[in-house]
Symmetry: C2
Subunit: 253 residues, 2 copies
């Protein structure tokens, strides 16, 4: 690997799991920054507002300026404001402080995030009926699952798949794996896509998606990593390392 111009880091599963920082993660990020490497954060987490994500990072010892954090909620705001559209928000209660002002009526779009317990039959049915009336489906990612301290848990992707299947529509994705989402972060780093390395634990949404957007990528064996993911990453020209420490080692070599 040629020394890159910049690095994109996924958060959950790379820097921490739940409230626990992963071993060596803080030191690894510090090494990157001390080496003068531009770093941005790119997450599909939509169970917390940006404010809470930044607070959590600080609490765990990572201090990043807000404009280096890329979240699907920001992409949704940009999209709805650009089109002057109000939406039905099938989102986590925690995200209402960030997107609540963009909720209708009128309902001219359906926005779906990782709503967690708010994925009730009634809420999904409401979204479905709006889709059948012609509202577009805006998805904050297609991630299949994430790692919680007690095991893997369903992320937003399966519910997007459910609504697509039910209404016979295709979602517009406003987080990873959308190419535009990666490229917005690459621009802030001041780099060209092939000179940027994405580091993540999700072989689909982080690694393969970054490769398809023209970036380099490294898969880590922490978080939601499962045996076999490394083979999948390899088929897309991406390497696999044990954790964020090994990733930084590789990047700065």
């Amino acid at each position: 690997m040629k020394r890159p111009c910049g690095v994109l880091l996924d958060l959950s599963g790379v820097l921490y799991v739940g409230e626990e920082r992963l071993p060596g993660a803080r030191e690894a990020v510090e090494r990157l920054l001390e080496a003068g490497m531009p770093v941005a954060l790119i997450t599909n987490t939509t169970r917390s507002p940006r404010r809470a994500i930044l607070e959590k990072l600080r609490r765990l010892g990572f201090d990043f300026p807000p404009d280096l954090l890329f979240t699907p909620s920001q992409a949704v705001r940009n999209e709805l404001e650009a089109t002057g559209t109000k939406a039905y928000m099938l989102i986590h209660p925690n995200l209402r402080e960030e997107l609540g002002d963009l909720e209708g009526p009128p309902f001219e779009a359906v926005v779906v995030g990782d709503a967690g317990e708010a994925f009730t039959y009634a809420n999904l049915n409401r979204a479905f009926r709006l889709l059948m009336e012609g509202c577009p489906l805006l998805a904050m990612g297609r991630t299949r699952y994430f790692r919680e301290p007690d095991g893997l848990s369903l992320d937003v992707g399966p519910f997007v798949a459910a609504l697509e299947y039910a209404a016979g529509v295709e979602a517009v994705v406003l987080g990873k794996p959308a190419e535009a989402f990666f490229l917005a972060a690459v621009r802030v780093l001041g780099c060209e896509p092939p000179e940027v390395v994405m580091v993540g634990d999700d072989v689909d949404s982080d690694v393969i998606a970054a490769r398809q957007a023209g970036l380099q990528a490294l898969l880590v064996r922490t978080g939601k990593y499962r045996p076999g993911d490394d083979e999948k990453a390899k088929r897309y020209g991406a390497g696999t390392v044990d954790d964020i420490r090994a990733a930084v080692e590789e990047i700065l070599r």
Copy 2:
């Protein structure tokens, strides 16, 4: 259409919607039976046990013997008993009286029906984790939606799609549109598949699926029918008529 040897009728959306019998439905079924036409019922409804479906039919003026009613719950029982398997049941509370004795532990399979309000995040996540451990996914249909008195509502299909997407697996379907499910009903009628007409309101699960199983099919413009479904039916060599009355007219002509 050559006079068929037997007829398969879907229930909800063909004979009734909610608690309301569709106009002329009782007379139409009586005409079929008086003409000596063998008739069986084939439904994907998994919000009610067979007992309640038969009671509802009687209440609405249709009297059918139990062995002419084909339900996915029966197919699930046959499958689990044949393999001596206990399952995690992601089903409607009403269906527990029929399948509760086949619930684990141990959980060696995941059964998904139209669970309605029981499609909570916690229940879906539990099913997902069992699938990730290697349990097979048995789906009581892939139906996208059904008509309720106040509009269209999500059926089992979208939730099957969600679990398939999440766990990267493919469901074994034990209701419509599975070919075996149609053929079991055809056998009871004592007919060959090409001589049997399936009458339904679901262009995918009733009409196209029946055609793919080698049957004839008629789509009705009641229940969940939506404009454009008739064109889709036509591409699979199936006609469309206004309702069950017109279907019987066509069958007995």
